[in-house]
Symmetry: C2
Subunit: 517 residues, 2 copies
């Protein structure tokens, strides 16, 4: 058995049954093994950031790691930005990078690079498999690392000779270590603060933002009168009817500080300390008020739902109903604004849809409107590396299909500037006939940056405008999508957009709407 064959068998045994791939010369034996050993579904991306972003989306929906297949250091490098986002989402990925043969590597052939060095910054675990005999056991450890709670990136570097040589041994699945144990002192302390103080905020992160965590948070809120909100970015936020109406900490610093100011105590339930996305002159790095005390209930690596349950028990908090989210917005009409768009999405959203949100400047308004919409998953940009949305939607749709939920509609809300980073994902959506409706907010500029530039206090002259404006030439998104096999149309009003959206929901295929904003 070749090393490559032992790898495929180990993946299948370990439950890794999807591989997002962009292979190269050094991976041909692995491709051959994937070809003749059944059990792993392979999906091609035309650039590696599509591959890694899709693997992230797959995990966020399935909570199971997929494999990737990348080609040498530069292929890995192309996928690092979305691995960065996946790391911030705490997604598990078995990140497989083919590389030069062990004995060829010292000769520094042109495509040789520091593959391990580049992998480290995004990976919880990195190993280069030095011979065929070890491929299976190394892969088993990689799967274990990827599955380690709540999910990690494990990079397995596979030199071509480890792949093609005989001597492969299938790796037996390894048991996954349990999450870091809860600290009873932290539970007691959080209960004491919540019981004694009146100005307490419970800040949810990680799986605290899934349905079960929200239910428990509601009991705590009802019993103690604390306020419950969530961190800004999270791998997966379950929202809509029947879920707790929860505000997120806003992205802009001033709004975030205003929201957190009243609270003398913040209990962190899987959330990190509320740090600003960037520093600004004469503004603090953190968004909570000076003097506010932070109390860790559970760290992101711990079992957050279990921590919330322990807190409920400690407080003897009785069950409490989730309050009604109010009426779902009516379908609006007329001009396109962030508000009318949000209301439209809310009105039209199918049950159990998946919203992928890389709307950047256009989308900051639509959290509240969709609270009363049909239940849905919300997958935002977690790490701030733009170009996440289209690949994430691709992987989320594949993930839903893998779970037998192939009818879940994915709605991909995408800023145009960020969308251009990974536009190649549309082709994979077409090839795989994925039920994704992409809405491009075509403002033809880096809208968020124009806002940031304004904060610098300078008027934009021609050079600055030239670096922040995308209007010369205007990108024709309908033509662009069509060229990659995705049907598309333009909308200048909410009415047209709503019509297109409804039509798109009827197809088992992607569709793109260029929203002229």
């Amino acid at each position: 058995m070749r090393g490559a064959e032992s790898l495929v068998h180990t993946l299948v045994k370990g439950g890794v049954d999807h591989c997002f791939a962009n292979p190269g010369t050094s991976e041909m034996h692995f491709v051959a093994a994937l070809d003749h050993i059944p059990g792993v579904r392979c999906i091609l991306g035309l650039q590696e950031n599509i591959v890694t972003g899709a693997a992230d989306g797959f995990f966020r929906i399935t909570e199971k790691p997929a494999a990737t297949l990348l080609h040498c250091g530069p292929g890995l490098a192309n996928g690092l930005a979305n691995l960065h986002n996946a790391r911030r989402a705490r997604s598990g990925i078995v990140n497989i990078v083919g590389d030069q043969a062990t004995y060829h590597r010292p000769f520094d052939a042109p495509l040789t690079a520091d593959t391990e060095g580049w992998a480290r910054g995004v990976s919880a675990w990195v190993r280069t498999t030095v011979k065929a005999e070890l491929v299976g056991s190394d892969a088993a450890v990689a799967i274990q690392a990827a599955r380690t709670h709540p999910g990690q990136i494990a990079t397995l570097i596979l030199p071509s000779d480890s792949s093609w040589n005989e001597g492969g041994v299938v790796g037996e699945p390894l048991s996954v270590p349990p999450p870091v144990a809860l600290d009873p002192h932290q539970i007691k302390n959080a209960a004491r603060i919540l019981g004694e103080k009146k100005n307490v905020l419970l800040l949810l992160g990680g799986k605290g933002m899934h349905e079960e965590g929200q239910k428990l948070a509601r009991w705590i809120e009802a019993a103690t009168g604390c306020r419950v909100i969530t961190e800004t970015y999270n791998g997966r936020f379950q929202r809509g009817r029947g879920r707790l109406p929860l505000e997120r900490i806003p992205y802009p610093g001033a709004a975030a500080r205003a929201m957190l100011k009243p609270y003398g105590h913040i209990v962190l339930a899987g959330a990190r300390s509320p740090v600003g996305f960037f520093a600004y002159p004469n503004q603090p790095s953190f968004h909570h008020a000076e003097g506010t005390e932070l109390h860790v209930l559970a760290r992101p690596e711990q079992n957050i739902v279990q921590a919330l349950q322990a807190l409920v028990d400690e407080l003897s908090a009785p069950p409490a109903a989730i309050p009604d989210g109010g009426p779902c917005p009516e379908l609006p009409s007329g001009a396109i604004t962030p508000e009318s768009f949000a209301a439209m999405i809310a009105a039209l959203l199918p049950e159990q849809a998946i919203i992928v949100d890389e709307s950047i400047s256009f989308g900051r308004a639509y959290g509240p409107a969709t609270q009363a919409a049909a239940p849905h998953d919300w997958l935002p940009l977690t790490g701030g590396a733009i170009g996440c949305g289209l690949p994430l939607a691709t992987g989320a749709a594949v993930g839903a299909r893998a779970m037998g939920q192939g009818d879940r509609r994915v709605i991909s809300c995408q800023a145009d500037g960020s969308g251009m980073y990974t536009v190649q994902a549309l082709w994979t959506q077409a090839r795989e006939k994925l039920p994704i409706t992409t809405v491009i907010f075509a403002n033809h500029k880096y809208g968020s940056l124009l806002g940031e530039y304004g904060n610098v206090g300078a008027n934009a002259g021609p050079t600055a405008v030239n670096m922040l404006d995308l209007g010369n030439p205007s990108i024709d998104w309908v033509q662009l999508a069509t060229s990659l096999g995705v049907e598309a149309a333009q909308a200048r009003t909410i009415d047209v957009c709503a019509d297109l959206m409804r039509q798109s929901f009827k197809r088992q295929a992607p569709f793109l709407i260029e929203l002229l904003t």
Copy 2:
């Protein structure tokens, strides 16, 4: 003066007058400084691999470093693959990466990453500027490093507070150290081998492949009867009428070994030892025969032309005329083949055109045909990280314009699979109205990989075909280019292609031909 302002002044003083950019929030003060301080022309790329590939192309034509402007670790990561190619081309780049404020970085905000770690693998020099007062002097060192012979990547990481704080001091230009001195023993040894032995190959690399190096190599060839060829990949190869007809070592191992087999001695003039691009089972890593002796005349970092001159002197080799390259091929007609395409290019090539070659599987045939074409520069993929061609063409055209040679036509020969990696470059070509004619070889597959897969000895089943075929859906390159503002048309015959090409040469604008092969 803010740190950002001192940076722009230092760049201008140091002769860095072009900046390829994709800025983000943390770079807004730098953008503002570029906006109000004249002297640096800024060119926007829609993804960072466009930016870095263009900076590479700019250097290859101008032999002057441009600056880049990238956003944080993930923005750098997106541009690493073309920095890898630039490093292999030995291009000088002042690679500027904005990043989190020094005091904000420890808090690990979502976009925080190991920027320095990622930079190291491609950079000869890396520094993070820790305060505004040091921006100018650090930038001066970065420029010095980028200009160090033959060209290096110098990465300057610019935290946002170093950029926005007052206290900036303009850095005075630093003198660039001379290339590593030649070794008289190596010159004498090469002369001795060339004088005594009959089976000697002179292998040119680096600037040995420019006009002056070729002239001297010709004298040595005429005086000693050695054979002169070049390494496979090189930043810039001056070719065509009046230049020495030189074969390159072929990419495929068998052909490379066959070419090198007869030679007992190889004199390396700026070339590296002939290592295979990849290892293959039961094939040697190096392409020269066992027992062949390698003799270094000059390393790539040394002054190769000076070394060839010293060798000429040592040999007392008299001037010898460059032999005539033979007649230029006639314009062919009919079906598109690698050979007919090559002949067409040769027949139509304008004087001093720039050919950017990422044609991969389609292009391996056309070296000989273009030998007798008009004099031109040939810029190939150097590091094997695909997705180089379209950005490289963009930067080469900007570079020619910067040298007052804005009428030089760039012909960008591009495989479709690789072209999809960095297709966003077409938009920059349209925006800058660059005289680039792109020819896409639309075979709708990873042709080179299908060849490699064949070598594995397996028949491709559905899974393998699915990972190597791009035909489902077929990408419509005419529509794709048009959507990004580049006029385009299809050609199914050489005649139509030739017509389109001639028409394109008349415009100060990009044009794309989708060649259906």
